[in-house]
Symmetry: C2
Subunit: 133 residues, 2 copies
DNA sequence: TATGACGTTTACGTTAACGTAAAGTTATAA
DNA sequence: TTATAACTTTACGTTAACGTAAACGTCATA
């Protein structure tokens, strides 16, 4: 029974406008089937859209996101192609790792700061007596 | 000897143009001292710039990055302010956590895929005999 | 003293990523 | 059968985040 979706189904689910989804198609990132002139999205299309939006959340441009997503559709025929693909994957992996590190550092900084704030708040709440001699 | 930097010092170090740094100032995110009309950046300014650029790498708009950075300069006078600050920090923390999860998921997907590619490559290299019976 | 190298302000230009409006098509409900 | 809801294409508009160019200041050095 392989599911399918209308454009507004996906728009609702991912909280974007139909315009946005059509734009991604115009950029060559989606190719839904058609029933007459209406677009019909498959589960695979839905996954692709999810990948696009995750890429955007991580700060990739659409062009960068497309580069990454296209790697998952790359030809795997001969060994040479596979080696090239693995190289490119390693390259993109580096970008992703940087983002993970950035997020972790930002979280660590923020948690430190919040802890200091909570400390200060505790001081204020116990009456401010006797602290910080 | 508290260090200071020219605009092109920072531009070089962070691989952006002076225009970009001036733009961040116009957006109220930096306030370097002046020596005559020349901008003089402190270590603190440099940290702020680093925070801005990390925010950008993580996909925050400048406005979002500013919101976050401004929290680190928020007033801590009374308990009410501290509680509000802690609320806002928790809010931003959520955004950061989502980005970390996104990055981790993307990395996991990519690593799985790369592993399958390496498997396929190994098959091809050992002559393709006897595999996948 | 003149010539770079570096800085400044002002202002218009550019691009990605959509928003928005107009005008038409198609299926379903009243 | 008419309305209305959801879709379509086409096309111009908008905004963030800078790029780029012009015209000028100022200091060291050849």
């Amino acid at each position: 029974m392989t599911q399918s979706f209308s454009i507004s189904d996906l728009a609702r689910e991912f909280d974007v406008t139909p315009r946005t989804i059509r734009y991604y198609e115009a950029e060559g990132m989606l190719e839904p089937l058609r029933q007459g002139q209406r677009r019909i999205y498959s589960l695979r299309d839905r996954v692709t859209l999810a990948l696009i939006l995750r890429g955007k959340r991580l700060g990739f441009s659409l062009a960068e996101a497309k580069e990454i997503i296209d790697l998952y559709d790359a030809p795997q025929g001969e060994a040479g192609q596979l080696r090239l693909l693995l190289d490119k994957l390693a390259d993109k992996r580096g970008l992703l790792e940087e983002k993970r590190r950035d997020a972790e550092n930002a979280l660590a900084n923020m948690d430190d700061y919040a802890a200091r704030c909570r400390g200060r708040l505790a001081e204020l709440e116990n009456g401010g007596a006797g602290q910080r001699t």
